[in-house]
Symmetry: C3
Subunit: 218 residues, 3 copies
């Protein structure tokens, strides 16, 4: 490996975060596969793409070697297991679209923190940490939606998504600044901000002003 770690504790934390986001993203991928009526192997394929897509782009761009799921293929096993479980249980879910949206919000909250900490673990500056947080969070779901031909959640008009990821990534930096010795403040702050903004957007319609071709004349 072409780099060494600054702290060992966060590395373990990072592994746990990657697992958590892998599993929850895998569930969202499997649910989208159920909407496309694929077979169980198709569930596994979409689940893996969603689960490891964002983190893979992050690791390739950062030149972290090996990519996280090559270092630990149990990530893939976890995603596949999640896909199989969903294949047999998705019909218990009342609204699969709703489940996708909410679980995606959970996975996003965790993945953004994982991205920030991964960039920090290879000593990238703060701006890159924020960008990697947003990328890790958003790209897996984006691949899932593009491949399955759903309207990408990330670009759904008038919802906070990239904004939530961005706020969470900045929150993670603030958490690391407040409590430099431990990553947990960063993770908690990031998850609370990301999930809070997503939830507010889904439930109460929180949004930023969207672009209008013709703003109302005063």
């Amino acid at each position: 490996m072409p780099f060494f770690f600054v702290w060992m504790v966060p590395m373990t934390t990072l592994v746990l975060l990657d697992y958590a986001s892998v599993i929850v993203f895998a569930v969202t991928g499997a649910l989208v596969a159920s909407r496309a009526q694929l077979d169980v192997v198709g569930f596994g394929f979409v689940a893996c793409l969603t689960a490891v897509g964002g983190g893979t782009v992050r690791d390739v761009v950062l030149d972290r070697n090996p990519v996280f799921w090559l270092a630990d293929p149990l990530n893939i096993a976890a995603a596949l297991l999640a896909a199989v479980v969903i294949f047999f249980t998705a019909h218990w879910v009342e609204s699969r679209l709703k489940a996708v949206i909410w679980l995606d919000a959970v996975a996003l909250s965790v993945a953004v923190a994982a991205g920030v900490l991964a960039a920090r673990s290879v000593d990238q500056p703060a701006a890159i940490q924020v960008i990697m947080g947003v990328m890790t969070g958003c790209l897996g779901g984006l691949m899932r939606d593009v491949v399955c031909n759903e309207v990408p959640l990330v670009l759904k008009q008038g919802e906070l998504y990239v904004t939530a990821a961005l706020a969470g990534a900045v929150g993670a930096l603030a958490g690391l600044w407040l409590s430099p010795g431990s990553p947990w403040a960063a993770i908690a702050l990031c998850a609370a901000l990301t999930f809070g903004l997503r939830a507010g957007s889904i439930l109460f319609g929180w949004r930023l002003p969207v672009y209008r071709a013709r703003p109302p004349q005063t």
Copy 2:
């Protein structure tokens, strides 16, 4: 190059396999371009994307340097030649969609074996060899279909595609276990399984049970 090869023979075999899958995938890309009525340069672009897409992602994720077509740009030349030939001959083909489906099955059979052997050549464990086989096989065609706005073959409801790739990749492992000194048993077993399952799926409707929102009550 950050690694050395365990065996030299399979490396040559690997080069040949990459060529074979490059050319056949390029033909499918050019046929899809003909359905979109592109010009000859557009044929070349889609052919190259399809031909080297899966192997490029494989090499980037495995950190194999240089990527196979940088090491040997003749791969690109072969893909371009195939595109030009198809540009002038595609109207001889009675059903271009049928030709895409069958040639894609051939290319898939070869590319899966190439992916498994490439992962093995850099000493990855068996699970990663299987995943790289599936990725190398499936991603080029997936890029072709997403970019050209066709329904991705890889996710077509009720067909064996990822399943065929997965079975072939496992078959390749079995072949390497049965005959560790030569890659040809692995290649033959992989191609037979992948192509056999795809063909059975296309001709006879072989499939795994797909997900149904409401399974029949007994």
Copy 3:
């Protein structure tokens, strides 16, 4: 960094070219975001994807470390600034689609040259320089259009796009051959060819013969 530069001057030029293509591509991304009525953070996301997508794939495939915008995060800042400016000014533009098409042609002209020079800076052969020019130019816009569900400009039937990029890349090689000491001849020739062919295609319908399923019988 695993390589050293052959000439120092072009490296600076390369940085400038990357900036120029980043900013103009970011503007096209923001204009496409305005067509999708996203909020300001969505503008930034699409702008960044478009602006750095092609160059990122180029650097990852060439194994140039770090990727250009990791080496200089101001690229991202420039793309975000462009997105914010467009968010507040896009309604001044009479036809945003027309603006996208023309600015995309400008960005393409610059990005192709940047790709050729980047491949040359790591001592790749001429064929790879041409391919990297085409890739750097075409992939950012392709990602923008796939993610935002627009018909990809790059594959629009009966327009010169990849052809323009290809001609420009070959022109850049010719420029470097004519005037090996300075990159400016290459950049000028590349931009003139790429932009000229795109403009001719948009204004006067210049095109290559497209594939026809049934060519007229004589």
